[in-house]
Symmetry: C2
Subunit: 351 residues, 2 copies
Amino acid sequence: MNSIASGSYEVYLEELAEAAINQHIKVKDYSKVFVLVDENTKQHCLPKLQKIVGPVVDEILEIPSGEENKTIQTCTTVWRNLSDYGGDRQSLLINLGGGVLTDLGGFVASTFKRGIDFINIPTTLLSMVDASIGGKTGVDFGSLKNQIGVINQPQMVLIFPDMLKTLDARQITSGFAEMLKHGLIKSSEYWDSLKTVDDYTHADYIRKSIAIKNDVVMEDPTEKGIRKILNFGHTLGHAIESYFLKNPEKSALLHGEAIAIGMILEGYLSHELKGLSMLSLEDIKTTFLQHFEKVDFSEEDVKIIVDLLKHDKKNTHGNINFVLLQDIGAAILDVKVPTPLFEKAFAYYNQ
Amino acid sequence: MNSIASGSYEVYLEELAEAAINQHIKVKDYSKVFVLVDENTKQHCLPKLQKIVGPVVDEILEIPSGEENKTIQTCTTVWRNLSDYGGDRQSLLINLGGGVLTDLGGFVASTFKRGIDFINIPTTLLSMVDASIGGKTGVDFGSLKNQIGVINQPQMVLIFPDMLKTLDARQITSGFAEMLKHGLIKSSEYWDSLKTVDDYTHADYIRKSIAIKNDVVMEDPTEKGIRKILNFGHTLGHAIESYFLKNPEKSALLHGEAIAIGMILEGYLSHELKGLSMLSLEDIKTTFLQHFEKVDFSEEDVKIIVDLLKHDKKNTHGNINFVLLQDIGAAILDVKVPTPLFEKAFAYYNQ
């Protein structure tokens, strides 16, 4: 199986991806084909893409990499480039990059002239198994992640696992956090297999993660219900990520590093509120700490992070809703958590 | 008939509108209700809205009026206000204003936290019969109108014709241009009735215009085909409007004033290319010039406007597509026009 049907679009891996994009571009007869890259994907991934699609690319647009550039200002630059290079409603934007780039590029395409076609080619493990799947697009706003955006599906998603070869180890591990999450929320078997595998970047594992995410997204594209389980670890994880990003005394955490902490914390909440066994909780903590370095949180840090939570976009009516685990592989939605438990969760993490 | 079904939402007029919004807000139980106003609608229309909905409004957000403020920068201000006042995914934004405000407010709501509910209450004739119907949202970008946006429907559109009482005459006439357009593209009977009516702001005429626009939009929400007929007069009209807006030596034209000129010019193209009779062409020119003051165009003006056309969002593959008339009430799509005809059209207008 090298393609995964995903409602209005498909995810293709490896050789099939090459055939699919060439066929698509031929059939659609786009007026212009733009490729959005950052300085890293321009160097490491663009040559491969150009080898695959040949001379159909009209313009390469470059943005700086990094979460700090996932802003409306960067969108403005890309909108201006599209406009200056004669982009019109029949143009195509190919997003070649990690989650920041595919989120931003998807938003730019969805809003340029009220929406043009786009294709995502994720180049990090994180974006392959998570960000590029499911149609969430957007940018950060102030210190709040993904505050501005739309839900809109790409024409297709193409996965080339060999693009991971030039990625540094920390980036790879960051993506692994989302794969582990897929096991925790949907499949204890997948969780167990990931704990012992040598090379989780093999196409078989990427494919399994995409399939889990995709099943959830297809059941609930607009996140009214079941899709929320993908947010396991993200409520506290996002708050931690935002705090580290804007605090000059902290070195920024990668997304996967932040949600790995979030999953330990929310695992603790699951144990306290939803009967997740201590054995499973310890399994979660041990597994993540094998792959992710422990981070120090002072009392002051914890206080500020809890304040940030109040702004998280998943909150409604001032309550903070969590996805928690009843068991490994079995998530539960919309659990309200008493505030004092947050400090206990951090205390458990710090132990 | 005081309501017009419009796919996923309804348009309500007068008393029914009052009942509809109160019922809707009660059922939806929004976490926060925001109202977006400009300095004019704050003074003239907000008191009426507050009388209707009572104390459910949590925050009033104000932006400056005028096409020159229909920008991403203004969106940024409103996004920040929504965020600062605790807006979340269960919040409602009520857009109380003309086309600039409902277009911008609709875009802000469609992109805030990947989309919150919004209701449009158009307060100008132009926005009642045109801008607030059909789900086009967006802002201008550089000198190009509506370059950034999405198509997304409001929860409902509410029309209170008595809000027009404080509008100045020039604004009212601007809206009349779109009503005349509805006759030209779809109903010669409506066109004839508008030519002789005393008060075209009466609810019966507004309702007829909305019904025409709505029929077209429901048939083709994403503007792949028939919806394009609503662009009659707009291809040249938008270029003229953009040019006057950014040229400091010209006084800005209202949207309706620009497309009134556009309809005379495109009427001429219709006569040259699609057999619109000279009698009908003269009828069009005479009718518009009875209501809209004639504008001077130098040779230099014409040259720049034609250049601007190349950037119009309706162009694909570098060709300029027009909606033209075969007859009054009968529009035809996707007509390519040889460039030399543009100058002849302006010459006809200048006669």
